[in-house]
């Protein structure tokens, strides 16, 4: 059975790793790479050479290949050069494409973007921007979502005076509430990045970027991160059921049973995800389904993590819309805001900003649907209690290697005495500090307890 995958992004490469006899048609010139690390490459903390994702030997990987048409009757896809590739199964993993905000002057008369303007979606985008960063002094990032904040931090770490423009009332507005957004804005400000919220960029010209509140931001670079939309044109032309994304069922099947869709381009149960983990989950599940296993997809639990230096954000599920009781701890003094949405003892969503302690534990509970006790959500948001030193009773064991109690140590005259009569401290040596402390206390008090 021949499987053809349209797209060579992260979802496609994962599927290709798990299926035999696969043809991958990618329109970028690069073999599959890890797209979500591009902001780290821009920041300079991730080597661009360490981005490549594996494609197993035997996969027919065709790069720089754009698919222009699906001929469902013939079970063939047509490429830009008019050649055709036949399939038994077709998987659309076309990802998403950045949306251009309605800013005058963004697109030049010849249809190309203004020379200061950069998208940030592909490795080529990243390289182009990286080249500019070297001699630019300042930058404006349009969009205060996860990608926008990552790019803003990256540019700032690279030494550019960076400003963020967000049309909504606060940062990360599709993920977190206003309190969290405000804390993030303050963190960014502390890190030297100016944030404009509730402001829309309306015009770009040689002076700079003008906002709808009249501000003019002089800038060398404008980076567009304000959203993307599922890339569905191919599916739409082929007459598949497309709403926001390409509609798929619990087998990730489109309205044509020989065509599947995974990743950012797919819409399942009314949801389009836009994150890698669900895309990989879909790829894994589709591989098993195509191999004949009885598996079905029932939607993803998403954990969105900001990957940016000195900004701590994690969003589990959809905390602003999830149904449940909210347990939250906000400390504006230190800039932390953490909130768990709990339903029937299960964490169904969470926001963690400014303090990620126990993130690993909270994520485990969320992913596994652990039923917690009534006090646990609160305890998870509390700091560890600091243990206080305890006065050891005479029968408390001090040395586990030799089985020596505090009383027997107290009865000794010196460390040498302890060593020869009890053998404490001679095994693993871990009790030495405690033994010294016991001896010291005994001498000071002058008693022989």
């Amino acid at each position: 059975m021949t499987t053809v995958i349209v797209g060579a992004g992260m979802a496609a490469s994962r599927l290709a790793q798990e299926l035999p006899d696969v043809t991958v048609l990618g329109d970028e010139a690069h073999p599959p790479y890890n797209r979500i690390l591009l902001s780290a490459v821009l920041e300079g903390t991730h080597s661009p050479d360490a981005l490549a994702l594996g494609v197993p030997d035997g996969v027919d990987l065709r790069l720089g290949t754009r698919v222009v048409e699906i001929h469902r009757e013939e079970r063939e896809v047509e490429l830009a050069d008019r050649s055709r590739v036949g399939y038994d199964r077709l998987v659309l993993a076309t990802g998403s494409i950045p949306t251009l905000p309605p800013i005058r002057g963004l697109v030049r008369m010849d249809g190309r973007l203004h020379e200061k303007v950069h998208a940030f979606r592909t490795l080529d985008d990243c390289r182009r921007l990286e080249r500019e960063v070297r001699h630019a002094r300042n930058a404006v990032v349009v969009g205060g979502g996860l990608l926008g904040l990552q790019v803003a931090r990256a540019l700032s770490v690279r030494g550019l005076a960076t400003e963020v423009v967000e049309g909504g009332e606060h940062l990360l507005r599709s993920q977190v509430d206003a309190k969290a957004g405000a804390i993030l804005a303050r963190d960014l400000k502390r890190l030297g990045t100016t944030v404009y919220t509730g402001a829309r960029a309306v015009r770009l010209d040689d002076r700079g970027l003008t906002l709808d509140n009249g501000y003019l931001l002089e800038t060398d670079l404008v980076v567009l991160t304000a959203g993307g939309r599922p890339s569905t044109a191919l599916a739409r032309r082929a007459g598949l059921d497309v709403r926001r994304g390409i509609v798929v069922d619990h087998h990730l099947r489109t309205s044509d049973e020989r065509i599947h869709a995974i990743g950012d381009c797919a819409q399942h149960g009314g949801q389009v995800t836009g994150f890698v983990p669900p895309a990989w989950e879909q790829a894994g599940l589709l591989a098993r389904h195509l191999a004949g296993e009885d598996v079905s997809y029932d939607g993803a639990r998403t954990v969105a993590r900001l990957r940016a230096t000195d900004l701590d954000v994690a969003v589990l599920g959809d905390p602003e819309r999830a149904d449940g009781q909210v347990v939250e701890v906000t400390n504006p003094v230190i800039g932390s805001h953490r909130k768990l949405v709990v339903r029937d003892g299960v964490i169904v969503a969470a926001t963690l900003v400014g303090d990620l302690s126990r993130i690993g534990q909270i994520t485990q509970h969320y992913d596994r649907g652990t039923v917690l006790g009534p006090r646990e959500p609160g305890d998870l948001l509390m700091a560890d209690r600091v243990a206080t030193p305890v006065e050891l009773s005479d029968d408390a064991e001090v040395c586990a290697c030799a089985g020596v109690s505090a009383g027997r140590v107290r009865a000794c005259a010196s460390l040498d005495d302890v060593r020869t009569t009890t053998r404490a401290t001679t095994g693993c040596g871990g009790c030495a500090p405690a033994v010294r402390q016991l001896l010291a206390t005994r001498t000071l008090e002058g008693t022989n307890r």
């Binding site: 206080t388 290697c401 500090p433």
Partner: protein, 705 residues
């Protein structure tokens, strides 16, 4: 005064045995370099089994009429066993008889046991409990380096490394005298990293502690490889000159960015990044794995991933750096080198290698075609007992299967279906107690023989006292059986060792140059020398292999019915199945317990010291709760020295090492409701505070960095 070694773990601490009247006393042997005179309480009390009232001094045979064991003479017992074995073999073929050995047997016994199976019994069905010890590390080392020696350098070398990473090792409790090297490393300015789901006493002495979900050590390694590559910290020169396979590993690691690792392992991305930075900046890094990383259905892959980390940093073969495995059992290393493994012949030769077969057959003086091929691995062997086509008889030497095998209820049912179970032991262990014939044998201070410790150092245990009347050595027992089956086996350990040397000559683990005299003079002799890999690895091309691996996760993931991870392990004062240590009066024997976090205790309404029931798909165990804040809240821990823990564990096997997944399975824990109704009911709905057990007293509580 007799110089010998401790009867327990793989450190094989040197000790001196002195007679004081009728007593035998343990004294330090300060010159022996591994432990420099230090011992733990197990070593100090090792003579406690001498003259013990439960010591077996006569063979026992199960009476057909009463079903009870009764005393028998040696001739009667051995005749009976040999006769039944002959009958079973003629009815069902040679593979109807199986042999099960142990990682605590001396090299001489391990060698002789393999020979007993292949020469006297003609069976391919021989394996041993070492499969449940370091087999995953062994198969990983063979793949990566072309050779399997637990530590390819002396343990003391770690004192001079810069960063020591302990993956799933609690050496402070499992081999306490080894902790001296840890402390000296830190005094030298080195940095210790411990990775464990429990904050053990070893973790308390580390500078960095990562606490992952059980069964996720592998993605931590992948995450570190990702970070090292991203930071340009891979030793490209070393990789190019001394290894193959890096590109595949690099591509596998590209998809393990820290936040993804965090989600799978429960270890904060920030902590992982810090560790990546630490490794990237260190000149000398040593990675050591132990059972925590290895006893998994993906144990081999986990070790391979950590070897990949060491190789990416360019460490193996460099002084005071590299990768090693901390073997567990006393002779875990030597036990696997001399032929009690189903797929190997003496000298770490593969049984399907025609040249190896030819060589060993010549030493044994038998036709090469009479040497059986590969048999079943330990768990598969036990699983087949008493089934159609499976063995009908089992001879057990140095293993207490009923306590130590995974999915123990099932294994017990297999043992019950045998026509003949013969157990050779020093006391009536849980396995001996269900045997048809029990043969009483000598113990450590009563016999001489070599062991190979975790460093590959061959050491000599020397006889200090005469055995009790009526007791024979395992070598005698094997020779007795062999004689009845028409074969002449030596019984003198030094003679057997010389034969072992000839059989191993030219093999991977070549003992032919080692003699008892040399061992005495040199404080042990390393086979193949103290340090390996300085010039080349053992593969034909001299290069180490990077092996790309992917994380599959535990064979039994947690779910709504069994929402917690169960992990098992050891406590300081007990050893393995406890057949010896539970009988030593001076060692505390509090029975099994269930370690759980205060948050979990509160959730289920458990109180410290009061019983809880832990349930898995395979069995249940009732034991007191021990509420500690040193364990992950989603994980519980049970020590395995007592009957019960292994009724819970999963028998999923590693595809390569055939190691069962002892270290993680899904479980549920519930509080036991008192039936007496005395006192106030303690239920999960009350708001009562949970008592947290006082932290270990040996360490000031605020000392953690």
């Amino acid at each position: 005064m007799t110089k010998t070694h401790c009867p327990y773990c793989s450190l094989q601490c040197g000790m001196s045995l002195e007679r004081a009247g009728r007593e035998l006393e343990v004294q330090p042997w300060a010159e022996f370099p591994v432990n420099e005179g230090a011992l733990c309480r197990k070593g100090w009390t090792a003579t406690g089994l001498r003259g013990h009232r439960e010591r077996l001094t006569t063979p026992l045979v199960r009476d057909r009429a009463t079903g009870e064991l009764r005393a028998a003479g040696w001739e009667e017992a051995l005749d009976l066993v040999a006769g039944r074995l002959r009958d079973l073999r003629s009815s069902y073929g040679a593979d109807a008889v199986a042999v099960f050995g142990g990682g605590g047997l001396t090299n001489e016994k391990a060698y002789q046991l393999g020979k007993l199976a292949r020469v006297a019994l003609g069976t391919s069905q021989v394996d041993y409990n070492g499969r449940w010890c370091m087999s995953s590390a062994a198969s990983a080392s063979n793949r990566a380096f072309g050779i399997d020696r637990g530590l390819p350098f002396p343990l003391a070398d770690i004192e001079h490394t810069d960063v020591l990473v302990l993956v799933g090792s609690n050496l402070v409790e499992t081999m306490p005298p080894a902790a001296r090297h840890l402390d000296r490393l830190r005094e030298n300015g080195g940095h210790v990293v411990v990775i464990d789901p429990r904050r053990t006493p070893t973790a308390d002495r580390a500078d960095t502690f990562l606490q992952p979900v059980p069964g996720t050590d592998l993605p931590i390694a992948l995450g570190l490889l990702h970070l090292l590559d991203a930071a340009g910290a891979v030793d490209e020169e070393y990789v190019a000159a001394r290894t193959t396979g890096w590109e595949d590993v690099r591509r596998a690691a590209a998809s393990w960015w820290p936040e993804r690792v965090e989600r799978v392992t429960g270890v904060d991305a920030a902590q992982l990044r810090d560790m990546g930075t630490l490794l990237a900046g260190a000149a000398k890094v040593t990675v050591l794995t132990a059972r925590g990383a290895e006893q998994h259905a993906q144990g081999t892959d986990t070790v391979l991933a950590w070897i990949d980390v060491a190789l990416a940093l360019g460490m193996p073969g460099r002084p005071n750096a590299g990768y090693g495995c901390l073997t567990g059992q006393g002779n875990g290393q030597g036990g696997r080198e001399h032929g009690q493994k189903a797929d190997q012949l003496p000298g770490y030769r593969m049984i399907d290698d025609p040249v190896a077969r030819e060589h060993v057959a010549r030493v044994w003086g038998v036709p090469v075609e009479s040497v059986p091929g590969k048999g079943r691995s330990a768990y598969e062997l036990l699983d087949a007992l008493g089934t159609d086509g499976g063995p009908k008889a089992l001879l057990v030497f140095g293993s207490n299967i009923v306590v130590s095998a995974p999915n123990a209820t099932h294994v017990r049912s297999r043992l019950d279906d045998l026509d003949l179970l013969v157990v050779s032991d020093i006391v009536l262990s849980e396995t001996a107690a269900i045997a048809d014939v029990v043969l009483p044998v000598t113990q450590w201070a009563e016999e001489t023989g070599t062991m190979t410790n975790l460093e590959g150092r061959v050491i000599l245990r020397q006889q200090a006292v005469a055995p009790p009347e009526g007791v024979r050595s395992d070598l005698d027992v094997m020779a007795g059986l062999a004689a009845r089956l028409g074969h002449d086996f030596a019984t003198d350990p030094e003679e057997v060792f010389a034969e072992l040397g000839r059989a191993s000559a030219g093999g991977r683990a070549d003992y032919s140059e080692i003699t008892y005299d040399r061992i005495r003079e040199e404080h042990g002799v390393f086979w193949a020398g103290p340090r390996l890999f300085a010039e080349a690895f053992a593969h034909d091309d001299g290069r180490a292999r990077f092996v790309a691996v992917e994380h599959r996760g535990p064979a039994e993931p947690v779910d709504a019915a069994y929402p917690l991870h169960l992990t098992t392990g050891r406590v300081l004062a007990q050893y393995q199945s406890g057949a010896q240590t539970r009988r030593v009066r001076e060692l505390p024997d509090d029975g099994p317990f269930v370690e759980l976090h205060p948050m979990l205790a509160q959730r289920i309404g458990a109180y410290d010291g009061e019983p809880v029931v832990i349930t898995t798909r395979r069995g249940e165990l009732k034991a007191p709760a021990r509420v500690v804040d040193t364990i992950r809240p989603d994980t519980v821990f049970v020590p395995f020295h007592w009957v019960g823990a292994n009724r819970l564990t999963n028998d999923a096997l590693d595809p390569s090492s055939r190691m069962p997944e002892f270290k993680v399975c899904a479980c549920a824990v519930t509080m036991v409701v008192s039936r007496l109704g005395a006192g106030a009911p303690r239920t999960s709905t009350t708001d009562a505070p949970v008592e947290v057990r006082a932290k270990r007293a040996s360490k000031p509580a605020q000392a953690r960095a």
